[in-house]
Structures are given as structure tokens and as C-alpha cells.
């Protein structure tokens, strides 16, 4: 079922664009050029993060951290490997993408931890960054309950990632 979504959506977007008189090729080229800017934007943080993750893994430190966090993970019903991802996610989007891709790689893309990591990445956002951008723009001195509410949403996303993968994919 999920195999159909992407090809059909692409066809729909292109046909609808053509029907409405959009220069589809020109629009795509323009959008792709913007996409290269997006790639350039996420690259620096990704390089730093992957270097640090890779060094920590080689030292044997990441196994120890995963092991130490296993009780917490068990309580939340998510794999131990995914806890560092959950901790970093609210702070850095590209950092989380780097850690997530490392988990997906080492545990296997279609393994349980690999899938939970992917769902966690897909179901959450960089909360601290978002709050910072909005409150700076609005000149908000007091964001009241915004941060705890945003973190509740993140927490729900992480716990549900484990539940959803077990429920829908195993």
C-alpha cells in the first residue's frame, strides 16, 4: 500500500501542475536549486555530529551509555540505542538526523531499533529552536507554558514511536 503513495503523488503533482498551466520543468529546476541550499544548510552540523558520534562509538563509550540508559528505555518501551536520539532531538535537527542515521546503519534499516529511530525522526521537530525563533521574532519575554507543552508533545512522539512500530510493523 505504502509503495503506491510516492509514485502516484508525484504523478498527481506533475499532471495537476501541467493542467493549471505551470511550466513544470522550470518550477522543478527552481525548487531543486533551493533544495541544494537546504543541503548546504544542514551539512556543517551533520559533519561535526557524525565525527563526534563516530569517535564515541570507536572508543566503546556509546555502548556503555546505551547500557546505562537501558532501564530508562525499558520504562519508555523504546530501544536503548534510541535514547541519545530522543535527548538530542529537541535541540538540533541535523544532529538528530546524524545520530538517527548512525542507529539506522548500525542496527539495520529494517530492524526494530532502526525503524523506531526513523519514526522518532519523522514524528518530532526541533522544539527549542522553534520556540527561540518565534519568541525572538515576537519579542516575547515570557513564553509561559510553551516549553513544557512542546516537550510533552516530543515525549508523546518518542513513546508512541515504539508503540507504533510494534503495532503496525512487526
Amino acid at each position: 500500500m505504502t509503495d503506491y503513495i510516492i509514485p502516484f503523488l508525484m504523478l498527481l503533482i506533475i499532471v495537476y501542475g501541467g493542467v493549471r498551466g505551470v511550466d513544470v520543468f522550470d518550477a522543478m529546476c527552481r525548487g531543486i536549486k533551493d533544495g541544494m541550499g537546504v543541503c548546504a544548510g544542514i551539512f556543517p552540523a551533520m559533519l561535526i555530529m557524525l565525527t563526534a558520534v563516530s569517535m564515541l562509538r570507536a572508543s566503546g563509550g556509546s555502548e556503555l551509555i546505551s547500557y546505562a540508559l537501558t532501564p530508562v528505555a525499558r520504562l519508555l518501551g523504546i530501544p536503548g540505542e534510541c535514547i541519545p536520539l530522543a535527548l538530542l532531538r529537541p535541540f538540533s535537527g541535523s544532529g538528530a538526523l546524524s545520530i538517527g542515521s548512525e542507529i539506522i546503519k548500525s542496527a539495520g534499516a529494517d530492524s526494530y531499533p532502526g525503524r523506531v529511530a526513523a519514526v522518532m525522526l519523522g514524528a518530532s521537530e526541533t522544539s527549542f529552536y522553534t520556540i527561540a525563533v518565534y519568541s525572538a521574532y515576537l519579542g516575547l519575554k515570557n513564553t509561559a507554558y510553551t516549553l513544557p507543552a512542546a516537550l510533552s508533545a516530543d515525549f508523546a512522539a518518542f513513546v508512541m514511536s515504539g508503540v507504533a512500530v510494534r503495532l503496525l510493523m512487526q
Binding site: 509503495d3 503523488l9 519514526v119 521574532y137 508533545a153
Partner: protein, 194 residues
């Protein structure tokens, strides 16, 4: 600043553990590998990011994004109550949400900021606390994205048989997360009175 501490702590742990376990040679090698991995990862997912941006540009020019915005307006009226009666406010919030649904962060933020400004202005005029602003920010900190194409690209590059088979699980987890955020705002708002 937080990221500086995170990276600093990771490197300190890597050096300490590497020294203690005698793996320092591997740690040294890993510093080079990590940088190479970043380039490989970007090459693997960059194409998908660009392709999707191209398709989104077609959707913007053809008015398909506009249709999605319209579809969202009943939900926005439900969430923002009397604030959604303001035409400008409703338009910006719906643009913000539709861009988020499509995974177009660069378009979502400008629309979201305009919506937040308008909400702030309205609550000032009414002499109320800006609960609408807080709700909008919280919704923006949760993920509404329908197609996590970047994550799917990562999975594809790591040998997943079906990179998009996470979709139903992502939708379920996202929906619960957004609902939790909205509920939390409701609870905090009730507790803080007015």
C-alpha cells in the same frame, strides 16, 4: 551553546574511554571516518531533498498548496476559536500548517511568524494573554509532516527493503504527539486561569 556542550562532552568521553580501553587508535581513525560519513550521507539523501523541493515548487505554483490550506481552515477554527474569525490570521495559520504538512519548513516559518504576530496583536487589542500564540508555537514544535522524505532517503541508503513502510507508524506517532501538545496547552491554560 547547548550543542557546544553536547559535542564537547561527546569528544571528552571518546578520549577518556578510548584511553582507558586502549581503543585510542580506533578513535583517531574514527575522526577521519566520521567526516567522510557526513559527505556520504549528504550525497545519499541530498538528491531526495532536492527532488522533493522541486515537486513542492510545482505545488506552490499550481495552487495545490492553496487548496490544502483551505481544507485545513475548519480545523483551525476549532483550535483557535474567535481568533480564527480574523481573515488575515486564518490565512497565515492555514499557510503555516499546510507548509508543515508538506514538509516545506522554509515556507512554514515565514507564514507561522506572520500568523503569530497577528495573534499577538489581536490578544493585545482584547487585553488577553496570548494563548493563541502559545498554541501556534507548540503546534509548530510538533511534526505535522505527512511524508518524511529525508528519513526515507536515509533508510533507502542503509538498505531498507521498503523505505516508506514507516509512513503509517509516523502518522500515528505524529498525530498522538500533536494531540498531546494541544492537550497540554489546554491544561496549562485552564490551570493558569484566564
Amino acid at each position: 551553546m547547548i550543542m557546544t556542550c553536547v559535542i564537547g562532552a561527546m569528544l571528552a568521553l571518546a578520549v577518556i574511554f578510548g584511553g582507558v580501553t586502549g581503543n585510542i587508535g580506533e578513535v583517531s581513525q574514527a575522526a577521519l571516518d566520521g567526516a567522510k560519513q557526513a559527505v556520504t550521507l549528504l550525497l545519499n539523501i541530498g538528491g531526495t531533498i532536492c527532488l522533493w523541493n522541486g515537486l513542492l515548487e510545482i505545488m506552490n505554483r499550481s495552487g495545490l498548496s492553496g487548496h490544502i490550506s483551505k481544507l485545513l481552515q475548519p480545523i483551525i477554527r476549532l483550535l483557535f476559536g474567535s481568533y480564527a474569525k480574523d481573515e488575515e490570521c486564518l490565512r497565515y495559520i492555514s499557510q503555516n500548517m499546510s507548509a508543515n504538512l508538506l514538509g516545506l519548513g522554509s515556507a512554514a516559518t515565514p507564514a507561522g511568524l506572520k500568523a503569530a504576530k497577528r495573534l499577538q496583536q489581536l490578544s493585545r487589542e482584547r487585553g488577553e494573554r496570548p494563548h493563541g500564540v502559545f498554541l501556534l508555537i507548540v503546534i509548530n514544535t510538533a511534526s505535522l509532516q505527512l511524508l518524511p522524505t529525508t528519513v526515507a532517503a536515509v533508510r533507502a541508503s542503509m538498505g531498507s527493503a521498503r523505505p516508506f513502510d514507516i509512513l503509517p507508524a509516523v502518522w500515528l506517532a505524529s498525530a498522538v504527539s500533536v494531540a498531546a501538545g494541544i492537550t497540554a496547552v489546554g491544561i496549562f491554560r485552564a490551570v493558569s486561569k484566564k
